[in-house]
Every structure is written in structure tokens, then in C-alpha cells.
Amino acid sequence: MDVRLSAEQQALREAAARLVDDHAPGSVAELDDAARTARLEAALTGSGWRELRAPEDEGRPLASAVETAIVAEELGRGPADASFLGPTLATELRRRAGAEPATALETVLLRPDLSGLVVVEDEQTRCSGVAIDARGVASALALVRTGHGYDLVGVPVAGASPGRDLTRPAAMVEGAAPERLPGAGRRLLTAEDIEAWSAFTLALTCADLVGTMRGAVDLAREYASVRRQYGKAIGSFQSVQHMLADAFVSIEGSSSVTRHAAWAADTLPPGEALAAAAVAKAYCARAAREVCETAIQVHGGIGMTWECLAHIHLRRALLSTQVLGDVGANLARVVAHRKIGGVHDGLR
């Protein structure tokens, strides 16, 4: 056992941090700065990080889930308003199915509550759902059930609009006709494939939450150091210090479970990887809401204004929380895995 990040992984983190520091919005107003978002988009495209889960030899991904999570965390910290989660999840599905890489930016189609992929019973059934993280995206992947497994289908996506998360707009898809993916040599996805994909997805959302928490605490810490009341920086008061200390502690615990979930996604059998991911997601999602709320509280009245970045972090956390199940849904996975549900199945 040695769970330190390797030198290459450290370097990747630094590179991702630089990209974010150069191009992520420094204020709420900058969310609308088209020149900046174009620069961020170009930098992210140039980095090749959206292809980390594309296949290399023998169908293995180019980079591990640990490396992908490192990038996701830094983009969450930004907060980077360019699509990454959606395209990465779509690429992961394509690789598992042995499908050709997408020709344009693609995301995944989730059920309206974002709890899982849209699955239709046959190719004649029209697809509805939410294409998450859809900035600049042309299509979204869903599943069609067959006798022997699941096949990938695509639906067109247009007109992403900001919902709860102002950094990652989503697109509603209503009644779209599914299209089979072109190309031969594709294989059907098994239930185990979907489990493994879900574990990977949860690990990435955890990494995004860890980054979001870091961004929120950095913001609050800076504010507490400059905002003065009673003639002193408010960060010198124990009541404020203790809130920020608790937030930092939550980040550290979240970071530890996330590192394991990301490792497990590529290493453990799918059922075990999903259990590890559920532990991580329950922990991180509970922590993230509290930490982002703390960031607002530390800002006082300023924290309630649209112009303060604190709510941008909170909103991003709320979306990441919902993807593939919130706190309760993942605690229910823990209950099922440890077989402690008893006769009460209300948690399942």
C-alpha cells in the first residue's frame, strides 16, 4: 500500500490548477464573459483531458480514474465553466462498449432526477431526460435494453441553459428518437458494466465536490482575512475560525474517501467499487452542502448577494450531489451492501 500521488499525478494536478487559475471566472460577472469562456474551452480542449477515458491498447483507458478525478477536482475548485464531467462519462460508456470515439462533444442523458442513465425498452421508444453538463455539446448517450444487455444510443442535444448550476448548463431532451451509433465491433453493455460506470461516475462527482469545497473555503478564508468588524479581521474571531476549521476538516475526510473511490473504480470488482463509491458520495455530498453553506455564512449579507461567488460553489455542489444519487440514495446503497436493511426497506 502506498496511496501517495505519484510525481506524474502531482504534475497533472499542477497543470490542471494552472489552467483553472488562468481561465476560471474570478467573479460572477465573468461568467458572462464570452471571450474568457472561449479561452477556457480552448485550453481544456488543448489539454486533451476530456479524452482521459478514451481507449488505448486492449481497450484500457488512457488514464486511470485517479488521474481523471484529479482533473475533475481542480475544475470543481475553479469553478471551471466548461464541460468535462458529461463528455468524460460519455467517453467512458463508449470505451466500455467498444464504440468509435464521438466526432463532436457528447454527454450523457440522465433521468430527470439525475439518479441514473435513461434506459428505453426498444429503439422505437422516444427518449426524454436531462443532458447534463451540455455546454457546447451536440448529442447525449442513453441505453436501449436488448435481450442480452444494453446497447448505446444517441440523441441530439441543443440549447443548454443554466439551471441550478450556473457553471454547467444542462439541456432538456423531450421525446427524441434514439439513433444507433455507427460503426461495427461494438458489444452490448452488461449490468456489471453499468455498475462499474456508475462507480466511476460517483467517484468523479466526489472529486468535483471536493474541488468545489476547496474553492468555497478559499473564498471564505480570503474574505475573513480582509473583512473587518470591531476593528479586527473577522477571521481572528474564534466563532468564525471554528466554522472554517470544521469546513477544512470535512474537506480532508472527503478527499481521503474520494481518493479510494477513484482507485477502486479501476481496480475492484464492480460491486465493491460501487460500494466504495457510495461511501464516498454519501460522505462528500453531506459535507459539501455544509461547507458551501459555511462559505455563505462567513460572508454575512454579502454572501446573500448574486455577485458573491459563494452561491456559485453551492449551486455546483447541489448539481454534483444529485448526479447518480444524493446523500440518502448513497446511504441506502451502504445499507444494502452491509445488509443491515432488516425489515425496514424505506431506505432502499
Partner: protein, 376 residues
């Protein structure tokens, strides 16, 4: 980055697992019964003699000189076997290794590590709790010895100890942090009286108070230099806050396994809230296991004596108290008529946010020394 065992680690794990199958003393949880403390010393010696204690410590003090991550394997296997955790004395070892001279290290550390000599730690006093540096116990030189007078409290294992690591004031004329020195003091001498304290869960064997009234320590039993006591104390308490040093992952994982068994043994008797509390205990204990894997891996680069122990202490407290709340849910089923082990486990869990520096002190340290917020 790999959570899996190397071949050497896997072989070690298998050897430990086989040994535990034959040598588990099946003691009750330390937080629930005095009987644990009767069995703790034999358990320490058995674990040491079999080669499963002090794995990451140097061989010259009785350790094995192995990478720090072996401690994580020990904790996992102890919990899996339902065995008692490893004895929590790494913080004394770290303090003496860092500050003690060659002679002190050679004389005291092998006995401490092997469990042949029992130690307690005399830091806190009735009027010096969070403000430890204001302590009033005096050590006055007399020939080649020091005469010690004062009152220590919350002294864990004082009833069993052969030695006490005492923090005392040797120079009353300098600022309070600079006038302290540390001594190894023999407990079986006139001038020392030890009284057990009964805890809120009824346990009487875990901690006590010690009165020093003209007790004597040889000058050569000073640990570190005169005036180095505060720095030694800070090394000791920073490691006392680390679950990886304490071996507490085994404690919590074992408790969680017991909670899970309890739920499975009587399905239908528990409410959704009971189940939810146990599920959170599972999540919290697993978090700590993974966090300790991370911290012990970081130690492969060399040990740090920094403030991150305060982060770990706060995480560990959340775990212990989540486990405590889940245990309370199990306890409620007895109708409150007789005190049961679950209730004792819950009551004991309240100590974790107090001992080794309160959670409020830890938050001060995290805020000022890690987050860089201004000192009040």
C-alpha cells in the same frame, strides 16, 4: 497510488491473520468494561512477542523498521478478527524518540514498546487543562535529583503504570512555555499517591489522578534538556491526536462490525433511524480507515510533527461520536432498565471531543496554523 497490498504486505497480512485466529483474547471494548484493562497488558506482550507490535519503529527500541503502512494492515486485521486494538502508546514513543537523549532512549523505550514496563502521562492538572503551559507542578533540583510536587489529573493507566512521563516547572522565572521540563518518574515510591477516577460510564480503570508530594526523579531521567518540556509535550500531544498512531481504526471498525451484527441479529426490532445511524457509523469508520491509509502513506516520505494531527483528531471525534450515537440506538431497546454495553460505548464517546486537547483547541490550531487565519 495503490491501496492494495504488495506481495510482502500480503504475506505479512496472512501471517497476522493466522496468528489472530489462535490468539484473540476476545476482550470487551475498552470503553465498556474494567475487564478490558485486566487483559490489556497480557495482550500487549502477546502482540509484541509474536512480532506484530511496533512495526514501523526502529529495531533498536524493539520495533521492526518496516514502512509505516504496515500499521494500517495491523489495524484492519485486528478489526476483522474482532481482536482488541493495538496498545495506544505511540505518542509517548514519538515524544521520547524525538526529544530524549541516547541514554534515555536506550533505557526506557524498549520496555515501553515490549509492554514489560507500563507508562502513564502526567501533563494535565486541575488548573491547567487547555492552558497546559500554566501548569504548577514543580521540580526542584537537589543534588543529582529533582524533587517533584504537584497534582496531575486525567492520567490514563495511572493505576497500572511503572513510570510516569511528568511535565513540571523547573524554572519559574522565565515565560511559562519556557520553564517546563519532562521527567521519567517511577510510580512505586513514597511521595506518589494515585487515585482512580470513575467515568460517566462506570469504568474505573482507565484514568485517575496522581498526587506528587516530594517524589523524586534522577536528573539523568530528565527527557530532553531543561526547558524543553513544552516542545516535548507538543510532540506528544500532536501524535496523541493521530488515529494512525493510536491504532483507533481497529477500535471503530470493530465497534461498527458489532453494530452491524446487532442489526442483522434482530431484524425488525430497529427503526429506520437506527439503521441510518449505523449506516453513518459505517461511512465514518470507513472514512477514517482510508484517511489513515493516506496519512501513513505520507509518512513514507518521513514523519511530520506538524498541526495536521488536529485535523485527524477532529475527524476521529466525528467517527467515535457517530459510532456512539449508533450504539445508543441499540441501547434504547433494553427499556433503560439495566446499563448495557451500548450505553457505555455511547457515554464514553463524549470523551473524544475533550481528551488530548478539546475540539475547540483543535479548531483553534487548524484555523491559525493550517488555514493561516490571524490569532485572536
Amino acid at each position: 497510488m495503490d491501496f492494495a497490498d504488495s506481495p510482502e504486505e500480503a504475506a505479512f497480512r496472512a501471517r497476522l491473520r493466522a496468528w489472530l485466529a489462535e490468539n484473540n483474547p476476545k476482550l470487551p471494548q475498552s470503553s465498556t468494561a474494567d475487564e478490558y484493562w485486566d487483559g490489556q497488558a497480557p495482550w500487549h506482550r502477546a502482540l509484541y512477542d509474536a512480532g506484530f507490535f511496533g512495526l514501523s519503529w526502529p529495531e533498536e527500541i524493539g520495533g521492526h523498521g518496516l514502512p509505516s503502512v504496515y500499521e494500517a494492515i495491523v489495524d484492519e486485521e485486528l478489526a476483522q478478527a474482532g481482536a482488541p486494538p493495538r496498545p495506544s502508546l505511540g505518542y509517548l514513543v514519538q515524544g521520547m524518540m524525538r526529544h530524549g537523549g541516547q541514554d534515555v532512549r536506550r533505557r526506557f523505550l524498549p520496555g515501553l514498546v515490549s509492554g514489560r514496563e507500563r507508562w502513564c502521562q502526567g501533563f494535565s492538572e486541575p488548573d491547567a487543562g487547555s492552558d497546559l503551559a500554566s501548569l504548577r507542578t514543580r521540580a526542584v533540583p537537589r543534588g543529582d535529583e529533582y524533587v517533584i510536587t504537584g497534582h496531575k489529573v486525567w492520567t490514563s493507566y495511572s493505576d497500572e503504570a511503572d513510570w510516569c512521563l511528568v511535565l513540571a516547572r523547573t524554572d519559574p522565572d522565565v515565560p511559562k512555555h519556557r520553564g517546563l521540563s519532562a521527567f521519567a518518574v517511577r510510580m512505586d515510591q513514597p511521595g506518589i499517591e494515585q487515585r482512580p477516577l470513575k467515568m460517566i460510564n462506570g469504568v474505573t480503570r482507565e484514568f485517575g489522578e496522581v498526587i506528587f508530594d516530594g517524589a523524586v526523579a534522577k536528573a539523568s531521567d530528565m527527557v530532553g534538556s531543561p526547558g524543553e518540556g513544552w516542545r516535548l509535550a507538543m510532540t506528544v500531544v500532536s501524535h496523541e491526536r493521530e488515529p494512525g498512531e493510536l491504532g483507533y481504526v481497529a477500535r471503530y471498525s470493530k465497534a461498527v462490525n458489532e453494530l452491524v451484527d446487532r442489526l442483522r441479529s434482530a431484524p425488525g426490532r430497529f427503526t429506520e433511524e437506527n439503521v441510518r445511524d449505523v449506516a453513518w457509523a459505517v461511512v465514518e469508520a470507513e472514512m477514517l480507515r482510508l484517511h489513515v491509509c493516506r496519512r501513513l502513506s505520507d509518512r513514507l516520505d518521513g514523519i511530520s510533527h506538524g498541526p495536521e494531527g488536529s485535523v485527524d483528531k477532529l475527524l476521529m471525534t466525528r467517527v467515535e461520536q457517530a459510532v456512539g450515537h449508533a450504539a445508543l440506538g441499540m441501547s434504547n431497546l433494553t427499556g433503560g432498565i439495566e446499563e448495557d454495553t451500548w450505553l457505555k460505548m455511547y457515554l464514553y464517546s463524549r470523551a473524544q471531543s475533550i481528551m488530548g486537547g478539546t475540539s475547540q483547541i483543535q479548531r483553534n490550531l487548524v484555523a491559525t496554523r493550517i488555514l493561516g487565519l490571524p490569532v485572536a
